[in-house]
Each structure stands twice: as C-alpha cells, then as structure tokens.
C-alpha cells in the first residue's frame, strides 16, 4: 500500500538501515585519556520514586526493584558470578568471586572454586558461605523473588563443601552447563558466616544455625528483621560486613545513599573515587532540572548539587545537544531484553481469536516498530523480532534474529484476515463471515459475526508506550479492528494481567502491556522457560504449545556441543509463532559528566562505580 512504502522510504532517509539506534548521543561507551585524578564524588541519579529500600540479598518480590538488586546490594555483597562484560551479556570472570564452574559427571555435577577474597571483618569468602546461601534459599523459597518451582535451589540435590574454597553441587539431572551457570548459579550470593545466627548476641563457638531447615528459617527471620529498618543500615554491625568494593555510610529516609570504598575489597578494580552517592528524585523532570542547572564537569574540585551519572528522560531527547554543550557526554544504553505485549489466550471471547496463528501474524503486521522507534523513541530503541535478540552484540542470537518475519504491512494483515473468513471493514468493525474449522474459515470457537474488538491495558507514565498504543489503535482501525485503550497504574497491570481460566472474573483482560520488557535477569541466558513454557510463572497469557515446550526443554538440557542448535531452534520457533506481540525495546540515554571515565553500560543493568574516575580536564 502506498502509505506503507512512503513510511519506509522516509525512514530509510532519516535513519541508517538496520537495528542500530539512530540516537542523538555521541555513542562512545567509555572514555579514556585525560590524567586521572584520585578522589572526587560521583553522584548517581536513582530512578524516580525508587529509593533503595532493602539491603539483604535474599530479597522478596515486594522489594525486587532494579535499585535494590542492581544498584545497591551488589555494591556491597558480591554475587558469586558477575554478569555483563564490557557491554556484552556474558559472564565476567575477572570480577567474579568464583572461578568459572566446572561441570562433570555428564553435566550432573558442578564444582565451584572461589578466589581468595575476604570479608571486611577479616574472614575469607569460603565455600561455606556459598552453602550458607543455598541452605537459606532452600528453607525460604517463598521469600525469594526469583524462585521458580523446580528451579534453583530445588534442582540441587546435594551441596558439599570439599575444601575451604571449593564446593560441589549435585544436580537432579543433566543440565546445559551454560544455562545452569547463567540462570541458576547466577542466583547465588555468598553470605558471611557472621550472619549465620538467630539473634543479635551470639555465643562464641556456636553451631551454625543454617544446617537445619528450621534453623535456616530462623536465620532468615533474624536477618529480615534486621533489614526492617533502613535507617539502621549504615550503623548496623550485621550489614557492615561486606565483600564488595563499597561500604554504606549513610542512608536517609528519602533514599539518599552514601558509600565509601571498602578498603578490604579483594577484587581486581579498587575504587578510585572518594565517595559514591546515590541521589533520590521524585520525578524525571526534577532529575533533568538538576542536570540542566548543575555542572557538566565533576570531580574533587567541584561543589554544589550535581549529577555525575544520570539519564535523559524519553521526552527530552531533543535536549541532548544542550546537555552536551554544557559539558556532559551522552551514552546510549540498551539492556539485553526483548519487549512485548500479551494477549490473553484464556479470555472467553478473545482467546479463540488469539489462538489462531494467522490472526497473531496479521496483528503483528500492524505493529510498526521502525516507525515507533523513529517517532516515539527518538531513535533510541531496538526492534524485537526474536526472543533471543541480536542486540546488544552477543554470542546467542542467530542471523534470523535480525530479520522480521512480520514487517509492518496493512496489506498483509488484511489479506491474512480475508483469507481466513473475516470480512474486513476499514474504519468499522471487521467480523467473522465464514465460521468453522476448515480452510479459509475463521477457526475453532469463533462464532459467526464475532467482531474484532479488544480492550488493551497499558501503564500510565510512559510516553512512548502511550503514543505507540495510539498509533496501534489508529492502524488497527484501518483494518476494522477496534482497540479500546485503558491507561492504568503499572501495579494494576501486575494485578490484572494474570494467567486464568476462561470463566473466572479475573480473565476479563484481553491485551496487556507492561511497558517494560523481559530483561534477562537473573536468567541471563536467553532461554524461554520462564515465559513461554506452559504454566511458567511469566506466562501470564496462558499460552501453551507442546512443541515449543519441547524445544525449551532442549535448550535447558542440551550438552554444550548441541546448545547453540537447540537455542536457534527455540528462537526460530517462537519468533514465527508469535506467542506474544513484539514491540521495540527502549534504550536509555545515560548522561555522564564530561570528565567522568570508566563507565561501561552493563547489558544486565548492573553498575561498577569502582571503575569510574574523574580526569583532571
């Protein structure tokens, strides 16, 4: 259709073809050069109204925010393995406490050796610390946000400490080593044995309590109680035992966190800053105001309110020039994730329609990812075509991930619908003219005259999401599909978009949009067992396809020689089956003070302030 080719032509002119973001930033991931200066304070902007609220790494769903898990706890308590290496979504062996795990016994046994690191109280980080974590998890799975029934730690049959630095895990069956390391071992944070007690005052020479389930529950109870009062974190004798590069010196009720370097940090990169401060903000507007009014160069000789590492709110991408002329640098950050919105396969009226593959394909043809990225994401977005995305560059995706099996095309959508018994009424309501299960007919469970009208829930507060849905509504109207848009707070979406059975009241939702993508964290290896498998926790649309289930099973259990093939098979199947509708994955424009060096965007969202430093310029 003329309008479609017009759209594409215009976009090709405005934006380089391909998946790279055509953003307004300078795009240098990190700067080097300029004489490094010791000291200085780096100010990190927290996300609006998301202050650090919980310090104990065994975190429950209520406190499972990016702030707590990626920008607070990991600064002090090192996870066993560090993920995200120089912008790539891979394991960083150098920064990890544990050496790369060794699989044996037909991939049923994992042996992990720890480096000779120390806690700040002088104790070594030992294999016993890892066992402590596993014991706690096993007894408290209901309080662990990332718990998947049958996953870690359920799939560890026995954990044995072989020596001070070595632990062996025996698994319930053979797993794909990459999968197990990236998705299961990624959930381990060694904890100091100083925490292994049930009360504040503990006698010396005591027996460690975590060895029994009841004991482990009691220890969790004690630690959770200690974590109930954020105002007490800085001075607490419990939380001050750290093995990470930073030590918390103050946390205010509003969420301003101040860290100083942990002088006993054993890792390779010692902090060069004198202080690392996280600043709370009530809105993105407030953060931008401080960026605009603050200084573009930081370091020990500056003072006043400033932001060293902040973000440019999505609406204000045109202001990148202004910020750059004030001395800031802008770096584009894309997390390793795919973005989607969910159809409810169990909804009584919409479910049968969604279950038809041709309908999902037609609907996907209505999503103009390139157009949205250009118009609404300011160029700062990556189209999603596959559940194993090709960007940021990674070793997992196959070449097919860069191609779009369902490009934006009203013509294709229309012909798919008409070929399957629908009467398409542009600017009206299309309806099923030929019901039935045969060729050229609508499909099972779709009565004659069923109209294509759906409700679509989406979250408030995200302008690119609002605008995209307006465009989708407008485009869908041209093939006679009516979308009733409903904007609700994000938590209402979590509360409403649920797996359900067709005749429950909870099943009235039809299309749901989270506004945020599926970030591969802590499941860092992009298999789909948590979202596309039948009955998976993230499978809120009640999607079920046994052949896809088998392919997913293969990715989690394949031996190393076959893992890439299994992953490709899974990715290709899901890519074409459209179990949910793909949409662009937004990036963030990270704003850095001009003389701050060492910042590298981490594909999973973690930060490493110990690598940052100011230069004299």
């Amino acid at each position: 259709m003329a309008s479609v080719t017009r759209r594409l032509a215009g976009l090709l002119g405005a934006c380089a073809l391909g998946l790279g973001a055509c953003s307004q930033g300078t795009g240098q991931p990190s700067g080097t050069g300029g004489a490094p200066v010791r000291g200085g304070v780096a100010y990190f902007a927290e996300q609006p109204l998301q202050p650090p609220t919980y310090i104990f790494p065994l975190v429950s769903g209520a406190y499972y925010t990016e702030e707590n898990t990626s920008w607070f706890q990991t600064l002090m308590y090192e996870p066993l393995y560090w993920f995200g290496d120089g912008g790539r979504p891979t394991l960083d062996a150098r920064l990890s406490v544990g050496d790369p795990p060794v699989y044996s016994g037909h991939d049923r046994v994992v042996t992990i050796t720890l480096k000779a690191w120390r806690w700040s109280d002088g104790e070594h980080v030992t294999a016993r610390d890892v066992l402590f974590w596993i014991d706690l998890l096993k007894a408290n799975t209901q309080d662990w946000a990332s718990y998947v029934p049958g996953g870690f730690p359920d799939n560890v049959v026995r954990a044995t400490v072989l020596s001070a630095q070595t632990i062996r895990l025996e698994l319930d069956k053979a797993y794909n080593p990459t999968w197990f390391t990236y998705n299961e071992l990624s959930q381990i944070t060694p904890l100091p044995l100083a925490w292994d007690r049930t009360g504040p005052a503990v006698a010396a020479g005591r027996r460690l309590a975590d060895t029994t389930p009841a004991g482990a529950r009691a220890v969790y109870g004690f630690l959770n109680a200690e974590a109930r009062s954020p105002a007490s974190y800085a001075a607490s004798p419990v939380w001050s035992v750290v093995d990470g590069p930073w030590r918390l010196t103050s946390l205010t009720s509003d969420g301003r966190a101040t860290f100083v370097p942990n002088t006993r940090y054993s890792g390779p990169d010692k902090p060069k800053l004198s202080e690392f401060v996280e600043l709370p903000f009530t809105s993105a507007d407030a953060e931008l105001s401080v960026l605009r009014a603050g200084t573009g160069t930081g370091g020990p000789r500056t003072s006043g309110t400033q932001v060293s590492v902040g973000y440019l709110p999505d609406n204000d991408l045109p202001q990148s020039r202004t910020l750059q002329s004030a001395g800031y640098r802008i770096v584009d950050w894309f997390p390793y994730q795919f973005d989607y919105f969910e159809p409810n396969f169990a909804n009584p009226t919409a479910g049968p329609v969604f279950r038809q593959l041709y309908f999902r394909q037609a609907f996907q043809h209505l999503v103009d990812q390139k157009g949205w990225i250009h118009a609404y994401y300011g160029g700062l977005g990556l189209p999603t075509h596959s559940p194993v995305p090709a960007e940021p560059p990674n070793p997992y995706s196959d070449p097919l991930a860069r191609s779009n099996p369902y490009p934006f095309s009203l013509k294709a959508a229309r012909s798919l619908l008409e070929a399957h018994g629908w009467k398409v009424v542009p600017n009206g309501l299309s309806f099923c003219a030929r019901p039935g299960q045969g060729d050229g007919e609508c499909g099972t469970g779709i009565p004659a005259g069923r109209r294509l009208s759906f409700s679509l829930l989406y979250p408030s507060g995200l302008s690119y999401s609002d605008d995209s849905m307006v465009d989708l509504q407008s485009v869908a109207r041209q093939v006679g599909i009516e979308l009733q848009l409903k904007e609700v707070p994000a938590t209402t979406i979590s509360a409403t978009v649920l797996p359900c059975s067709p005749h429950q009241a909870a099943c009235s939702w039809q299309l749901g949009q989270y506004g945020t993508g599926w970030l591969f964290s802590p499941d860092h290896y992009p298999t789909g067992e948590e979202i596309f498998q039948t009955g998976a926790l993230g499978n809120v649309g009640s999607y079920s396809d046994p052949s896809i289930d088998r392919l997913i099973e293969a990715t989690t259990t394949a031996p190393p020689a076959a893992e890439q093939k299994a992953l490709d098979a899974y990715a290709d199947a899901v890519r074409t089956a459209v179990p949910d509708f793909w949409q662009p994955s937004p990036g963030t424009a990270v704003v850095l003070q001009g003389n701050l060096r060492g910042f590298v965007p981490n594909a999973y969202g973690f930060i490493n302030p110990e690598e940052w430093y100011f230069t004299g310029s």
């Binding site: 609220t53 105002a231 709370p280 809105s283 953060e287 105001s289 909870a506 948590e530 993230g538």
Partner: protein, 315 residues
C-alpha cells in the same frame, strides 16, 4: 458552646471511622490480585500465599477491618508494603517538609490576599479592582504543574536565579542551609492560592464596609477611619481563621504537584504514589491523618468564627 464542641467532636469521630470504612471497602473492590500487584508478575504461588497470610488477606474483609481498627487504637498506622518503613516513620519524616512548604505558602498567600482583598473592596468597581481580579484569576486558572514547570524553566534553568530543587536535607535545617531553594516551590503554591484567598477576603471586606455603622464612621472622617480599620480587620480575622481551619487537610495533600516537580518528598506525593502502587497500608494510614485533619480543621473554623464574630451563636 462547650456542649456544641463536644457534640461535634463525637460526631467527628464517627465521621472518621466512616471515612476509613469507605476507603477500606473501596480498596477491596478494586479488581485484581493485591499480592501480585506488590510481588510483581513473576511471583511464585508460594510467595503469593505467604504474602496473603502474612498480611491477613486470607480473612474476610470484616475481620481485616477490625484488625486495622485494632491497630489504629494502639497508635499503629500500619507498615508500607513497598517502602520497608512504618507509616508513622514515613509521615514523621515527611510532615515537616509539608508543613514548611504548605505552611509558608499559606502564610504568604494570606499576607498578599488580605491587603489585596481589602484594597479591592475599598476601590470596588474601579479599574484596580477589575485588573487585580483578572491577574489573580489568571494565576488561579493555570494548572499548578504548568506554573511550576514554567518557573523552573525560567528562573532555575534559563537564568540560574534559584536552585531547581527544594531543600534536600530534612526540615528547618535544610531550609536554613539554602533558603533560596524553597522560593520556587512556595511561589508555585502561593500564586495558585492567592486567588482563592483574595476573592474571599474581598467579599468579607465588602460586606463589612457596607454595614451601616461603618458608613457613618467613614462619614465622620479620619477619626472614624481608625474604627473602620479595626472593624474590617477583626472581621477579616474571622475569615482568615476559617480559611486556615479549612486548609488544614490541604497541608497534607496539596503539595503533590510541587513535591513531584521540585524533588521534595512529602506526604502528598507519598499518598499519591501509594494509591497508584497498591500500597494500601500507607494509603489507609494517611487517610486517617487527612480525615482527622479535615474534621478538626472544620471544627476549628466554625469555632473560631463564632469566637471572632459575636453575632454567631451555636445552640
């Protein structure tokens, strides 16, 4: 009078309980699973069950309400699901911010509105009167978030006259550390309130000036003028007292937009965030406080008016 006050207090208590009941019931009518709203979309069934048990959500609504009332009587306002703090500590920390912000704006608005209203009344029907009405209403008609954004764009970013953020350290010490930081937030609130207040002051002053004995006093000349002013001021005080009383609940909730724009966490923003993120304990706790402030403020307004205007009597 005492009898009246006592009766009103008793009634206020009933009203307060009624308010909490309404909010409680409405919360439970909101569709969807509260546990999933809090725990997120990937929550396991065990965590959902544990959350519901730990927070008493598996009991009938009546029982939950009774438990809530019980806690309330002990002075326990509840504990946030998300912020890992008790409502008491949240409010205790943020209320001084609100009092400072809204209180200052209130005082400033009154300080401008009182003389303005009287001046308008004295020059009633003239160009000054209409002009002032125009300016003041124009400010009132502007949504406060627009006004705030314009002020920041103009006075904090384009011209670095004031900081773009309100004071970041808590309470009075924060303000003293950098008093300029409070200027823009207070200005935003004040400009919107001046209209409301001056309109009211003007009509109060007009009514007073129209009274017979005032006309006589003015005719008598400057000696009588002192009498006029004292009478006008006294009646205006009555109006002021009413305004302050009825503005009491606003101290807790009206700062929302300003807090949002100027990075000044306060009760208003906390309430809004809690309402949007299903953090019901915070919502209920603050509702209790706002309700108490409302009924108290209303009572204060009525009583002070009676005290200051001898014509008013309560049976």
């Amino acid at each position: 009078m005492t009898g009246y006050v006592v009766r009103r207090l008793c009634q206020s208590l009933v009203v307060l309980v009624g308010v909490t009941l309404v909010v409680f019931v409405l919360e439970h009518l909101i569709p969807g699973s509260l546990a999933r709203a809090i725990l997120g979309p990937r929550a396991s069934p065990a965590s959902i069950k544990a959350f519901e048990t730990a927070n008493g959500l598996d009991h009938p609504v009546v029982v939950q309400y009774a438990v809530f009332l019980g806690h309330l009587l002990e002075g326990n306002l509840g504990r946030s699901y998300r912020l890992n703090q008790s409502v008491d500590s949240l409010v205790a920390h943020q209320l001084p911010n609100d009092v400072l912000l809204v209180g200052t704006a209130l005082v400033l608005a009154l300080a401008i509105a009182l003389p303005l209203g009287v001046a308008q009344a004295l020059r009633r029907g003239k160009a000054f009167d209409h002009g002032a009405t125009g300016v003041v209403f124009a400010l009132y008609s502007t949504p406060s978030y627009c006004l705030g954004l314009l002020l920041v764009a103009g006075l904090a970013v384009a011209v670095r006259a004031f900081p773009p953020e309100a004071p970041q350290s808590a309470g009075l010490s924060g303000v003293l550390h950098d008093p300029r930081a409070l200027v823009l937030p207070v200005l935003t609130l004040t400009l919107v309130n001046v209209a409301l207040f001056s309109r009211y002051m003007r009509s109060a002053a007009v009514a007073t000036l129209a009274e017979d004995f005032v006309t006589v006093a003015r005719a008598k000349g400057s000696g009588g003028l002192g009498l006029v002013w004292r009478h006008v001021l006294r009646n205006s005080l009555a109006a002021v007292a009413t305004l302050v009383g009825l503005s009491l609940p606003a101290v807790l909730t009206s700062g929302l937009v300003v807090e949002y724009l100027f990075n000044y966490p306060g009760v208003g923003l906390t309430y809004f965030t809690a309402a949007s993120s299903s953090d019901y304990p915070v919502m209920l706790g603050i509702t209790v406080l706002v309700g108490a402030a409302t009924v108290l403020g209303s009572l204060l307004a009525d009583v002070s008016y009676a005290v200051l205007d001898p014509r008013v009597r309560y049976g």
